[in-house]
């Protein structure tokens, strides 16, 4: 098995650079004192009342985000997968839009919508009712939960919708013919079969909320409370308390790993023969007179996640004063000139973001393509380990990864802090699992027979890769490229700890602009970011849509 050696060495090196070094340093620094190992940092962290409050806030936030996401995502999934609700394609499209919207942009938009003083919705409420008190205050724990949830529920939606789409109606009808009423069928058949997906969606939502930095930083800090991620960030502010940050990161890391393990078990147990089985048809449930109200409810949710925030961003981008009505006097392109020409770091940041996005996506897509090909075709001994390693970074929240990378690469032999390379490593690690999952699905769908058929007719291994596997995998790998790219351009939680004045990226500049109260410029940059994201999403759809249909028709 000599040909497996280069792959092994490569994978081992990549693993060391991307995971072992940062996490190793993180763990080491969290227990190292002036005189050997110590647990003082942990004691400091867990006895400090402020830090304990941050920990508790995170638990509250994550739990409620999980619940609210299930409450929104599950009904939406059921409506689009199983009923005759009008325009299911539109609803799916809007859920996708909410999925790819950077949550911190949504949070900014909601500051403009529901800030207690100048928020558009509150101004409207006051003028409509004459009340003095604001209707909504986004700078509260419920406000934060709401904002995080409207961009996190798509995780639940995807899990549940995909499961529902796979459960054949036969199973439900089998229960009905045995005498179970509608409710009984739902309780005894449908719900138990969806339950693992539901629970696992809940866990994914909780994980998102645990790891999120942007929204808490925008909404919780002004409200005067911390979460774990913002707390870690503030430990990094001058003078940095790196050891404490490391000690504070470990519980977050462990919680994530534990929850993912639980999720895996939930999905892995009970082989749902029915799910994925052939044949069985899915019949839609008629909603009758509830069809249009159901669509209305979906659109109401989506207006919170998409229409209102996008609208207020667009308005703010083109107006002198975002809180004022959009009259002729208020209309301006000044925000664009300010953002792109007057404000110091914007253009450099856009260039940095694009550079990092393209570089990470290209190298990342190439890596996941090779790794998933090797694991799918079982080309090396221990290919399962390769797959595990490629998916492992999923347990590391962005902030924790950043703390680890910061510690590892501010000291010899690798001094990368202050360069774009440290951001590149952070992004590559963070996006690896997403890209790998996509590439893996791609190669899984290409039977080895197709390659063998070419071999036996006289084509060598490389020619097969070029003429058969390559063309068939192309669209899937382009999709992996796009997923990585989208992940990079919106990344904030690791960037915020790793940037230096010369290596700012768009998300960091948006964060800076917020400190200065430049809402017009934030909106402009936000629109640019959304434009880039949606252009990339369109590319994915084109790549997958056309080729996949062409191949499987």
């Amino acid at each position: 098995m000599d040909r497996s050696i280069p792959v092994w060495v490569g994978a081992a090196l990549a693993l060391i650079v991307l995971m072992a070094l940062p996490l190793g340093w993180l763990a080491w620094l969290s227990v190292s004192g002036e005189h050997g190992t110590t647990l003082t940092h942990y004691r400091d962290v867990f006895t400090d009342p402020a830090l304990r409050r941050a920990l508790w806030n995170t638990v509250v936030l994550a739990f409620w985000v999980g619940l609210v996401s299930v409450a929104i995502g599950a009904p939406l999934a059921w409506l689009t997968a199983r009923t005759d609700v009008p325009r299911p394609g539109l609803i799916r499209g809007l859920v996708l839009a909410s999925f790819v919207t950077p949550p911190f942009l949504g949070a900014f938009a909601w500051v403009m919508l529901a800030g207690p003083n100048a928020g558009v919705l509150n101004t409207f409420w006051r003028s409509a009712t004459g009340a003095r008190e604001p209707l909504l205050n986004i700078f509260t724990m419920p406000g934060l939960i709401f904002i995080v949830s409207i961009y996190t529920f798509p995780y639940v939606y995807i899990m549940v919708a995909n499961t529902l789409a796979l459960i054949a109606s036969d199973l439900e009808e089998a229960a009905a013919i045995l005498g179970a009423g509608r409710l009984a069928v739902a309780r005894t058949v449908t719900l138990p079969m969806v339950l693992p997906a539901l629970a696992s969606g809940f866990i994914l939502a909780v994980l998102q909320a645990l790891a999120l930095f942007g929204s808490p930083a925008i909404l919780a800090l002004p409200a005067g409370f911390h979460t774990v991620t913002t707390q870690i960030w503030s430990l990094f502010q001058f003078p940095p308390k790196v050891e404490q940050a490391a000690a504070f990161s470990i519980p977050l890391l462990l919680a994530t790993a534990l929850l993912l393990q639980v999720q895996k078990r939930l999905l892995g147990r009970r082989g749902y023969a029915a799910v994925g089985g052939k044949g069985g048809q899915r019949r839609t449930i008629p909603l009758g007179r509830w069809r249009w109200p159901a669509l209305g409810a979906c659109l109401a949710v989506m207006s919170c996640a998409i229409f209102l925030p996008y609208g207020v961003l667009a308005k703010a981008a083109f107006s002198r004063a975002w809180a004022q009505p959009l009259t002729r006097d208020n209309l301006t392109l000044g925000n664009f000139t300010f953002t792109f020409f007057d404000y110091g770091s914007t253009r450099a940041a856009i260039v940095n973001t694009l550079e990092l996005g393209v570089m990470t996506a290209c190298i990342g897509a190439a890596m996941v393509a090779v790794l998933s090909y090797v694991t799918n075709r079982k080309l090396v001994i221990g290919h399962q380990v390769v797959a595990f390693l490629a998916l492992a970074p999923v347990v590391v929240p962005g902030v924790v990864l950043a703390v680890g990378l910061f510690i590892a690469y501010t000291r010899p032999p690798f001094v990368l802090y202050g360069t774009l390379w440290i951001l590149f490593l952070a992004y590559l690690t963070k996006e690896m699992p997403v890209g790998y999952a996509q590439a893996d699905a791609t190669f899984r769908a290409i039977p080895a027979d197709l390659e063998d058929a070419g071999r036996i007719l006289g084509a060598g291994r490389l020619r097969i890769l070029r003429e058969i596997t390559g063309p068939l995998a192309k669209s899937g790998i382009i999709a992996a490229w796009c997923f990585i790219f989208i992940g990079v351009i919106r990344e904030l939680s690791a960037s915020i700890l790793l940037f230096t004045p010369n290596t700012k990226v768009m998300s960091v500049v948006i964060f800076d602009l917020k400190e200065e109260g430049q809402f017009g410029a934030i909106s402009v940059l936000g629109l640019v970011m959304l434009g880039l994201t949606f252009a990339t999403v369109a590319l994915v759809q084109a790549a997958l849509g056309r080729d996949v249909l062409g191949a499987r028709r």
Partner: protein, 286 residues
């Protein structure tokens, strides 16, 4: 046209011996069916012959070339074979003509025109003339099967391998394709190894059948041999609808089962030995 010789082949998956000391000879120009229940090692044997797997023991010879041994394995692309897959394995991104022409690209001394002429001719033979520009996804199952056959035969392989090629077709089409494959074999005369688990299919299509059990050849012979002269209970039960009766030989030509005595045509039994008597339905009618 060379034959194929397998000498004491072995290949294990983990602890399971998929192929376990299998020896077999396919004569030049013969169509030999590898028949057996699932898990008997027939597909593994075929993939060993194709060179997709390396044997742990034993050798594979084609004519005077040793293609596989534990020490060295000639890669599939240099074996001058062709294979028809259970899944057909048509390339979805190539047209019918491109699929069929693929193997010809690796034949030296063929001009573009030669290749096109051969592809056209082969598509005519499999009754797919006019389908050159279609994609596999636009064809029915039976048509896809014909494309797979054309792609394999057009390269004029020394050895043709078929891995359960009919199992994805519905019953009528399967019947039709059996005769089609037999007809093509008689036209082209390739040395052919045909894997199947369907004894009816094996009997109709092949010159000889090798019945496999647990990675070994249980018996080789013509359909007639296996049907009328099975050497083991396994072969008797697998090949034909048969009743097997345990008994004791009481004379050179008589078997006793409880208080029934049965005379048999083979008259060299050792009196007193335990025997299994196979009564095929056809025999019983006579």
């Amino acid at each position: 046209m060379p034959g194929v010789v397998l000498k004491a082949l072995a290949k294990r998956y983990g602890d399971v011996g998929a192929v376990d000391g299998l020896s077999l000879e396919v004569k030049p120009g013969e169509l030999l069916a590898l028949l057996g229940p699932s898990g008997c090692g027939k597909t593994t044997t075929l993939r060993l012959v194709a060179g997709f797997l390396a044997p742990e023991a034993g050798e594979i010879w084609v004519g005077d070339r040793c293609l596989s041994s534990p020490a060295s394995v000639v890669p599939p692309e240099r074996r001058r074979m062709a294979m028809i897959f259970q899944s057909y394995a048509l390339w979805p991104h190539m047209t019918v003509a491109q699929n069929v022409a693929y193997g010809l690209r690796f034949k030296p001394g063929l001009s573009r025109g030669d290749r096109e002429a051969r592809v056209r001719e082969m598509l005519r033979v499999v009754q797919l003339a006019g389908y050159e520009g279609r994609y596999p996804g636009e064809l029915s199952g039976g048509q896809q099967q014909r494309v797979a056959v054309a792609r394999a035969l057009v390269v004029e392989p020394e050895i043709l391998l078929l891995d359960e090629p009919l199992s994805n077709l519905d019953a009528n089409l399967r019947e039709e394709m059996r005769f089609e494959i037999r007809r093509l074999h008689e036209t082209f005369g390739n040395t052919t190894l045909y894997v199947t688990h369907d004894q009816g299919e094996a009997m109709v299509i092949s010159d000889r059948i090798a019945v496999l059990k647990a990675g070994k050849v249980a018996q080789t012979g013509t359909a007639d041999d296996l049907y009328h002269r099975p050497r083991t209970r396994f072969v008797a039960e697998f090949i034909g609808r048969t009743n097997v009766v345990d008994g004791v030989a009481v004379a050179r030509d008589t078997v006793a089962h409880a208080n029934v005595r049965i005379r048999v045509a083979i008259a060299d039994l050792a009196p007193g030995s335990r025997v299994a008597l196979s009564i095929a339905t056809v025999t019983a009618v006579h």
